[in-house]
């Protein structure tokens, strides 16, 4: 089959796959060839993809931890501080009634923890993205998979071949 001339101008290439297995094949190949800066689009996350890419664990969990801890601190700080601010005895109970404040501490833990987590996700995933992503195809949110490879002309060309070889339905420049 005749290979169409590669346009050196293009910064990258995207391969569109109908099946997961084809995608995985291409992905393995690319990794093997030491390609970096790969972006895999798939309608749903899939552990096979993760296995091949094997990236470090997301740091979101740290946000969760710190958020939660400061939540706890804030809860108790607020409850204790305000009670001591104006001592009012109710029901013959001590001014600082810790057992009661546990509830406050707990709720603020969850609240701030959750918000921090979400913030963490947005920061790490670089969301929101405003500009169009290179090589993204609407079908990736339906039932097609895609690999975007960025790089110099040589790499791009090589990647394109690999993608085709792996059985990409389409291989387009981006």
């Amino acid at each position: 089959m005749a290979t169409p001339p590669v346009v050196p101008a293009s910064p990258g290439v995207v391969g569109v796959f109908d099946t997961l297995d084809a995608l995985l094949l291409a992905l393995r190949e690319l990794k093997a060839k030491g390609f970096t800066g790969l972006t895999v689009h798939s309608p749903v996350p899939h552990h096979d993809i993760e296995d091949i890419l094997d990236e470090p664990v997301s740091p979101v969990r740290l946000f969760t931890l710190i958020g939660a801890l400061s939540g706890t601190a804030f809860g108790f700080y607020y409850a204790i501080g305000t009670s001591l601010d104006w001592e009012l005895i109710v029901g013959g109970k001590p001014i600082v009634s810790l057992p009661a404040y546990v509830v406050i501490g707990f709720e603020t833990t969850i609240l701030i923890g959750a918000l921090a987590t979400v913030a963490g996700m947005f920061l790490n995933a670089r969301l929101p993205k405003l500009r169009k992503a290179a090589g993204y195809d609407p079908r990736f949110s339906a039932d097609k998979f895609g690999i975007v490879v960025m790089g110099g002309p040589a790499q791009v060309a090589a990647a394109a071949d690999i993608l085709r070889a792996a059985g990409a339905a389409e291989v387009n420049d981006v």
Binding site: L88, I89, G91, G92, I95
Partner: protein
């Protein structure tokens, strides 16, 4: 009188009807022209006067702020009430500020009333009087109420000056039979004075001496002294009556004879006394009495009355064992065809027991000079025959109370009918001209309830409306008709000052002068023997129920009906307000399948009224009882509810010419409707929860088992924790340092359930009157309420009634406090359970969490004139206590031990830098309690009265096992009965 001008600093905080909205934008201040040395804005001024709500004549101190009376309290110097007051006395203010008062002279045209000027009105009346006088003798009549002193004399003089002798002092409750009996037995037509304080044994034949009989506030004090448990001794009280009312609740024993046979029972007992050889009469009297009494053979009496003969024997023994004892009778409820006989019999009983001159004396009282029902009937027939041209009615309402005499129809035949009345009541409505009278709190007078006691009456306020005091009107009328009366006095004030003499001002300040009047000694007369003694008869079918018309603690003879406080005051016996009920015994009810709230028609002959059934174990089977006082057709916005049982009565009189209030047998026919009772009663039984505790006298002294919810270890732990907390507390911010701990002790052995405290609280704390529909939803706002529980088997007569005033317990571990999200409920340094109205958001959690259920919620905007539920219409708002915030809708409120009084006293003490003492602070309830059952003070001071009472062996806290540490200690009520144990234990 300028010193009480309303030119005041612009209503300095008129108790915030505007619900505190920041700056007084555009509000005007009106300074005095000349400052009044004894009136400082913001500082109350007190005026001594006399309560005229009933003939008892209690001395009062009227608290005024910026010239407006805002509270009435008893005059401590006064021998009759010793500083105490009943609910009716407390409510006198609402008479003064009655929104339906007649505000200026008016002439009637058909059904319409046209305002006229005083001059014109006086002209017309004086001409009519003159004309009547010229046209003959006795063509002028004056109907007044009980009165004495110069104004009373003036009325006589006035009538005489128009060539008439028709002057009647008409009181619906004049107790003629009692007076007549005194004449027949002791030869003096006088109402006796009773010394309950000295009596060791009290037997009441239907005399409601704690409610309306003669001088209830005075009697309550004496009764509490003798019958209240003290150092292991207390008098025994036996109630002999077919209906057990509030007075009967205090009884250790209830004997319920057949209605109408009480006289026979009394004579039977007297007879027994002789036969037991215990009579304390000697000489000829003894023989005469023995002979007379022998007629009343005990077996026969026992059969007639339905009272076991050994009971009669026992009563005779007990009555004479105790020395001195006291038997009273003359209650309106038992004023039947044999009323005179009943009073005679009771007089004899006192005579044989040797009580006369000891607990029963005859100093002469204001009642002695009252006219009888027969007198009124005489006048009625004269009016009917057209023998009277001008009738002046003053301070009484015969059209309502004397319907039986056919008053209305005859009255309408009179040419000119003049009302000297401040209310548009039934009688006034029939008149042609109304010359509005001062309220007693605006008027001058001298009143002598009992000879030896002269009680002054002076204005505590300038007239609220364009009114004039009756005495002044009489003087002016006489003057216009060219007659001089009252020794040419200018006005009533002059009359009074003249009578008081040189040191009038001191008298006015003190309010009462007492001279020791030697009680007239009496000797037995034989006249009574001519009477015929037998069971009283009642008109109507034998199958019917005997109808007792009962005077109302709140409304008296109906004159209290237009006062919201009194209408909403739950009747101490049935706990119903606003409505007219008919009491039937459970058996009777079951037989006729009647239930609470069923609307029935009470029929006697062709007359009938409607009433709500209340199934009540306190009436004998075969007896029905209805309260007097409601069912007005006129008189004002609050008065027109309910129905008037008096309208059933015919003009039947007894031997003394008194109206027989008990004369009918009635039938109850259900209408099929049922109305929720406007009652505060939840469950009439306390299910052994030990809220109102009773203890048998026998069990006192010896260490009787008191329920202890905690083990010794737990108690120690709790105590440790508490002391730790207290120590911690006194180092905290506002709690630092020494504070008093305000506490209260309530002696249930003294409490009679009279409910004076309730009305006092309404007056002091600006409590709204919410009306029938809201009371039906239990939304009444009374911060202190009287709970009335039946103890023991209520089928028969052998049950006790446990009553307890329930108010905020000011718990140290208050469950209501920690649940409030906004600190509106919290604990003050001086141990109060503070409630900050303006902080409350109305979650109502505190009320849910209060085990005593003493928190009350503002369901509507009772305090805002804009709201449809506004509770202080018209001049009623003038009564509001400026020291207490009027609560807005949606906030919780409750008793605070009258914290405004505490703070006021603290400020006074601080400014005049002296220490605060318990004497400086008295909550309204404690201040007014006629039985002195409530003690208030600083519990941290071990020598204070309240601490002393707290240590009493009878002391207990309600719901001790909740460990709320209440600040109110109740002292168990001690009764002679043995069954009392039922209620004594904490519920376990």
């Amino acid at each position: 009188m300028k010193r009480r001008k309303f030119l005041q600093v612009a209503g300095v905080t008129t108790a915030g009807l505007a619900a505190g909205c920041g700056t007084g934008e555009g509000e005007k201040w009106l300074p005095y022209l000349v400052p009044d040395e004894n009136l400082v804005p913001g500082v109350p001024t007190y005026y001594a006067s006399t309560c005229r709500e009933c003939p008892a004549g209690c001395g009062i101190l009227v608290k005024t702020r910026e010239g407006r009376p805002i509270k009435i309290e008893g005059n401590p110097h006064h021998p009759v009430n010793r500083g105490r007051l009943c609910a009716r006395g407390q409510a006198a203010l609402q008479g003064l500020y009655d929104p339906d008062r007649v505000s200026q002279p008016m002439r009637r045209q058909g059904e319409r009333w046209i305002p006229i000027s005083w001059d014109e009105a006086l002209q017309q009346v004086s001409q009519a009087l003159a004309a009547a006088a010229t046209s003959g003798q006795d063509r002028v009549a004056f109907i007044g109420g009980a009165d004495s002193g110069p104004t009373d004399a003036l009325a006589d003089e006035f009538v005489r000056s128009f060539r008439s002798s028709r002057r009647i002092r008409y009181e619906a409750f004049a107790h003629e039979p009692l007076r007549e009996a005194s004449r027949l037995v002791f030869g003096t037509a006088s109402i006796p004075r009773y010394d309950f304080g000295a009596a060791r044994y009290i037997m009441s034949f239907g005399a409601d001496f704690l409610e309306t009989f003669l001088s209830p506030t005075e009697f309550a004090g004496g009764f509490a002294r003798s019958h209240g448990w003290h150092e292991g001794r207390m008098a025994r009280f036996v109630a002999v009556e077919p209906r057990r009312g509030m007075t009967g609740f205090s009884a250790d024993e209830w004997v319920a004879p057949e209605a109408g046979t009480e006289a026979l029972l009394a004579l039977g007992i007297a007879n027994a006394v002789f036969r037991q050889g215990r009579a304390r009469v000697t000489g000829g009297d003894a023989d005469a009495l023995r002979g007379f009494l022998a007629r009343f053979d005990i077996a026969t009496v026992s059969r007639q009355c339905g009272v076991a003969s050994d009971t009669i024997e026992r009563l005779a023994r007990e009555f004479t064992d105790a020395e001195p004892s006291l038997a009273v009778s003359g209650g309106v409820a038992l004023q039947h065809r044999q009323a005179t006989q009943l009073n005679v019999a009771v007089h004899l009983l006192n005579a044989v027991a040797g009580n006369v001159g000891r607990t029963v004396t005859f100093p002469g009282t204001v009642w002695d000079r009252l006219g009888t029902f027969a007198d009124l009937k005489g006048l009625v027939s004269a009016m009917d025959a057209g023998g009277v041209d001008v009738v002046i009615v003053h301070g009484t309402n015969p059209a309502f109370t004397a319907g039986a005499a056919g008053f209305a129809s005859a009255f309408s035949k009179v040419q000119l009918k003049v009302a000297l009345s401040s209310a548009m009541d039934e009688t006034t409505a029939l008149c042609d001209i109304v010359l509005p009278d001062h309220h007693p709190l605006e008027a001058w007078g001298l009143y002598t309830p009992v000879s030896g006691v002269t009680s002054v009456q002076q204005p505590a306020s300038t007239p609220v409306h364009d009114t004039r005091q009756a005495a002044d009107v009489m003087l002016q009328l006489a003057r216009l008709a060219n007659r001089t009366i009252g020794g040419g006095a200018e006005d009533a004030q002059q009359l009074v000052r003249r009578a008081l003499g040189a040191d009038a001002n001191q008298e006015l300040q003190r309010g009462v002068t007492t001279t020791v009047a030697a009680a007239r000694p009496v000797r037995l007369s034989r006249e009574f023997a001519r009477l015929s003694f037998g069971p009283a008869t009642f008109d109507g079918a034998e199958t019917g129920l005997v109808l007792l018309t009962v005077p109302s603690v709140a409304l008296y003879d109906g004159r209290g009906a237009n006062k919201g406080w009194l209408q909403e005051l739950p009747d101490p016996a049935t706990k119903i307000s606003w409505q007219t009920w008919v009491e039937v015994h459970p058996q009777t009810a079951a037989a006729a399948s009647l239930h609470n709230g069923d609307v029935v028609t009470v029929t006697a002959g062709e007359r009938s009224v409607e009433a709500l059934v209340y199934v009540y174990p306190g009436v004998r089977p075969g007896v029905a009882a209805m309260p007097i006082g409601r069912g007005h057709t006129r008189y004002g916005r609050y008065a027109t509810g309910g129905s008037n049982p008096l309208s059933l009565l015919g003009d039947v009189t007894d031997g003394s010419g008194a109206l027989a209030f008990a004369q009918l047998r009635v039938t109850l026919t259900p209408t099929g409707r049922r109305v929720p009772l406007a009652t505060t009663e939840g469950s009439p039984r306390q299910h052994g929860r030990g809220i109102a505790r009773l203890a048998a006298l026998a069990s006192m002294g010896q260490a009787h088992e008191v329920h202890e919810p905690f083990t010794a270890a737990e108690r120690r732990a709790i105590a440790r924790a508490d002391t730790a907390h207290r120590e911690a507390r006194y180092t905290l911010g506002d709690y630092r340092g020494e504070h008093p701990k305000w506490e209260m002790a309530i002696d249930l052995s003294r409490c009679t359930g009279c409910s004076a405290c309730v009305t006092a609280c309404y007056a002091e704390n600006n409590l709204p009157v919410v009306g029938e529909s809201q009371v039906q939803r239990h939304r009444e706002m009374a911060w202190i309420r009287l709970e009335r529980y039946f103890e023991g088997e209520t089928e028969g007569t052998d049950f006790q009634v446990a009553q307890v005033p329930m108010l905020c317990q000011q718990c140290e571990n208050a469950p209501c406090e920690p649940v409030c999200p906004v600190y509106a409920a919290y604990h003050t340094p001086d141990g109060l359970n503070g409630q900050i109205y303006n902080r409350c958001v109305g979650t109502r959690y505190c009320a849910n969490n209060c085990p005593y259920k003493v928190r009350y919620f503002n369901w509507f905007d009772y305090g805002s004139p804009a709201s449809p539920q506004f509770a202080f219409p018209g001049t009623l708002a003038w009564q509001l206590n400026p020291d207490v915030t009027v609560r807005t809708k949606g906030v919780m409120e409750k008793c605070t031990f009258c914290v405004q009084r505490i703070r006021y006293a603290q400020n006074e003490a601080k400014v005049s830098n002296r220490a605060l003492t318990d004497a400086d602070v008295q909550p309204a309830c404690a201040q007014t309690c006629p039985a002195d059952a409530i003690t208030f003070g600083d519990a941290r001071n071990p020598d204070s009265e309240v601490s002393r009472r707290k240590r009493d062996e009878r002391g207990y806290h309600v719901f001790e096992l909740l460990n709320t540490k209440p600040g109110v200690t109740y002292l168990t009520r001690v009764v002679h009965a043995e069954m009392a144990e039922a209620a004594s234990g904490e519920g376990h």
